[in-house]
Amino acid sequence: MKTEIALLEQRITLKQGAGGRAMRALIEDVFLQDAPDVSPSEVGPRAMDDGAALWIGDRWLVVTTDSHVVHPIFFPGGDIGRLSVCGTVNDLAMMGATEVLALTCGAILEEGFPRADLERVQASMAAACREAGARIMTGDTKVMGRGEIDGVVLNTTGVAVTARIVRDRGLRPGDRILVTGSVGDHGLAIMAARHALKLEGDLRSDVAPINGLIRAALEAGGPAVVAMKDPTRGGLSSALHEMAGKSGVGILLEETKVPVTDAVRAAGELLGIDPLNVANEGKAVLGVSPEAAGPVLEALRGHPLGCDAAVIGRCVAERPGNVILDTGFGRRLLAEPEGEPLPRIC
């Protein structure tokens, strides 16, 4: 038995890329082994935040990077190109950096990949850049042999400067938890597309650049916005657990307040998948001081990408690191998902 486990640990498993505990453990055990020490005022790799932040005299330089392996590459509501721009723009925004200085794009293609598909992906990246007010300033292209990689993999890196950064660990008891719109859309749209479920007409990915939306929230809330995270792999549940754990608070989540579309709810019921546990690509979770929750909510709802924003819970001193779910019928702890139920979601 022991040797079996030892052997298993010699190989990477899909779970280690699912965004949950197993992935964090892999990063800690391997990538953080020789990670540099950074000054307490900087955000480095050990923070495992949405990006790094370096103090450059009078402002913060924020850097983040994201690779995209989604399958299928074209899905209802978007494609891998749009995803690759939005993923990085949104990670910058989650650090408080909503004005993108530049993006890079690294593309790895499989021999035989249709040129028309590549052009379609490129056009979609360009459109997403226009929406985000971002520019791809440099890039890299590699081609691998047939079967050595599946279709296309895109990596983007983003840089931005900002006067103030927002972390994922700033929650205090009493703070309100806001979400910028409905949850579960991206994950269930991909799942429906992949399994050819006849529900897909109702299910669309929410993939969108939300730096403009976050800018509006930060303008309304200022320093009262104390924490942000985008609920990608592992969904709202993973994001809340990570924020609660890093901040040392409990989060009381009101399930009936969480916006979920009818299509997502119905598909989740049919597939036995909780919309709280699946990926979003155009949403954010914000922790806001109670007195600013109203104005921030109003600012979010005034933006086209935030019209379904809602206050979904509050932070409590009890049960630090846990999420207490009020179902409307009773209460229980929300289990921290092992990560995304589906591989290659983003």
């Binding site: 109702d202 009818d262 779910l325 179902t327 019928f329």
Partner: protein, 388 residues
Amino acid sequence: MDSLSLDAARETRLTAAIRQLKFRDPALARRLAETIARVTAEIGRSPVSVMHVCGSHEQAIAKFGLRATFPKDLNVIMGPGCPVCITDLPEVDEGVALARQGHVIASYGDMLKVRGTVHSLSDVQAEGAAIEVVYSATQAVELARRTDREVVFFATGFETTAVATAAVVRSGPPKNFSVLSAHKYIPPVMEIVAEMPETRVEGFLAAGHAATITGWGIFEPFVERHGIPVVVAGFEPLDILAGLARLVELVRDGKPAVVNMFPRCVTKQGNQRAQEELWSVFRPVGGRWRGIAHIPNGNMRLREEWAHLDARRRFVIDLAALWDAAPPTLVADCICGDIMSGISSPADCKLFGRECVPDTPVGACMVSSEGSCKIWHQYGGHPDLGAS
């Protein structure tokens, strides 16, 4: 299918999903929870113990956090409601032995990680044995039609799934198809559990889907013999709360009776054609339920006229050959048996959520989606957060 009928199909599915949500009205749920609390207080004893015998009931209770709304004097015990969990060690061993003897074993996914005396199906699959996961008995027959090898359908489940097995047995399956039945019949185990001194069950919440087939009338002789009320309930949160409210009322009033709180699906007679087919294929025999006891008439085996489809008759199953290693040491600490009898809860187990998790389960209760441990783990661990 044209686009119009596709739209219509989608419409039906969505309407069905929304209709189901009507049984999820929190305001009504609060009123029912208040009734349960009031009636339990009126009984004036502590604890008042009632039992459900269905994993799907615990699923709904855990998912919606209903335990936090139960009064502390009401003990809602999880009974032997998981067919995978109560499949006995020698039954799993039979499946494992047939797989090692080179036959294809088709079974439901939950069975793969359940350990027999030493090995699980998943262990022998890793050695190269042919184990196929199926979602229905029909799929197992289709599998047999596609191959020349012997396909053994390792059939588990209560009377609900046994009906589907009976249907394929009667449908004239191919010659290379056979059934290894580990089907269990719920009514007899209620007789045993009702007499257990450790649990002192005062009322049963019976599973609505099983009663759809058996009818609620089947519980009348039980109620007469034991003087314990039975309420048949569905699986939405309001179904369960309404069922429990009625059950504690019957306990308070000292009225042993059967009450059907799932009338939208369950009748007194049940589905008679399904019952006829079921008992034309199976006969009840006594046997052990893992961790619980010997249950007279609790196991369902193929009748003599279907002997040609019975894997136990077709093959010589060599169980001794399996005992080539010692069982894993952690098994000694597993309290699945007590959990399934309703004597303990997962929170009483020192392995729960530590050494024993869904990825590396020690006991069957952490394997099956109907198992109490798996359910509690899926919905956040210990479910009783209190009402604060």
